[in-house]
Amino acid sequence: MAAVTSVTTTATRPGWLRQMRTKTRRLKLPWIPVAIVSTLVICAIFAEVLTSVDPREINMLEARMSPAVISEFFGGADANYSWSHPLGTDVMGRDMLSRLIYGARTSVLISLVALSFGMVVGTTLGLIAGYRGKWVDALVMRFADAALGFPTILVAMIIVVLLGAGMLNIVLAVMLTVWARFARMIRGDVLAIRELDFVTQAKIAGVSAHMIIARHIFPNIVNTLLVITSLQIGQVILLEASLSFLGLGLPPGEAAWGIMVAEGRTVIVDVWWLSLLPGLAITIVVLAFNFFGDWMRDTMDPKLRRA
């Protein structure tokens, strides 16, 4: 059937479009989460294009302006707003929209870096622990248990003491817990796959250990890898925001959602949008990633699919 599809693909364009549509419909893609995630990624990549305002530019004359998109319709006569700041400004007169867009970049950047390091380290260790077993496995898993169970906040604090606050600090703190999640899940999968007959068959045929890992084990954990990754992104973004909020990450004034919430905290009663908007952004993005991850798990997990 796949062959038939590819033939018609090259033949006629409208058919191609229609087929794409039926294909995605069959996958039942979760459209809203996908749209949100795409928006986030676009904001992160094209921040300069989307807004010409510098997120760090202080302008005390335009401080504390309420979001135009709301005040235009609900604001009283005394409402102070301007369409040049659609989402208002903060206490220093910095543009909220531009700060939110640049905040998206911070979130994506930090979680991407931390997650990819965590993924590479965790997957490698998980593969080795699962395939080698014995003391290697015991050692890796003891460390993973400790890293998983241990409160991230304590880890982050120790790192802050060691290195001082900064972006690297957040990345490290996140990495130190995330790798363990990957290692654990991957190792569990490897342990199960290692016992399957096709691996024994490969051994009987004389296939070498690294070829067995590359050809027989790794391709069978790719699904798990994708599923954990998509489920972890949300948690990593949340963690990053919490650490930023506590001032353990980027210096104050930088455009990060957690910092923005913290800056609005003391003036929440008058300038409510300062905390509300970035917090909403975090919630929506994390929700989107969670739903997307659930969808990935439901469609990709072969254990669920076989049932």
Binding site: P151, M157, I159, G279
Partner: protein, 305 residues
Amino acid sequence: MQRYILFRGIQALFTLWILSLAIFLSVHLTGDPAQYLLGSEAGRTEYEQLKKNLGLDRPLYIQYIDFMGDVVRADFGKSHILGRSAREVLMERFPATLQLASAAFLIALVVGIPLGIVSAVKRDTPIDMFAKFFAVLGIATPGFWIAIMLILLFGAILGWLPTFGRGGLDHFVLPSFVLGWAAMAGMVRLGRSSMLEVLDSEYVKFARVKGLSERLVIFKHALKNAIIPLLTFSGLTLAGLLNGSVAVEVVFAWPGIGRLMLQGIQTRDFPIVQATVLAAGLFYILTALLVDILYAYVNPKIRYE
């Protein structure tokens, strides 16, 4: 069983030791405590003298042995900001955190587990939908933000509840709810999935085959099995509670060790940092150990090993 507990105990001690080592190294590798204590204007002789007094001129391993001795005696030195013994401050603040965390944990257990179980038993009904929605929100919303929003709503706008500090029972409502929500959400999700799995098992099918009432099937046969994974999870939840409690204590101005810890870091008050991080670590490790023992007790496979 005893062997299992012994094993977990040794593991807990090991984790604690790693933690203490990490703290020792991070404090001793980052700059010079003596420098911080004196400030930049101090003279050279004064500095050397202090170093000698603090024992900082000796080899690292001797300092470490000393440090371990202090840790065992729970003597973390004097906070140079508060001017009091770090242990004293810690003991003063610790109950506040303990109370808050217990309240949150209780909410998570009392609301989370039943909701998850009911959600599985009444699958695809409005109750289930509500539980799933409630859970997914709890996992996705940042606690510090919910805290601020609740202060805005219940404190500033409605004026129903106090929004900062410790006091009567009403002071507990907002902080413990915020702190407990994420843990509760996890319990709902796990409770639901583990109950669904148990309800699908052969022994539940057999319990029905032999004509047991639905009440016995669910409360006796399914529940106990479904709760076993929840117990393990509740151990992990504690880590989450400690994570969250720092932010919640900061937002609600709760005088606990979370806020103390953050202040210690911000002011480079090392005795306080050491005391709070070790205390939090010890608290976490002990509760995790307790949960493990409880788990072994509920699960006969381990109990009779």
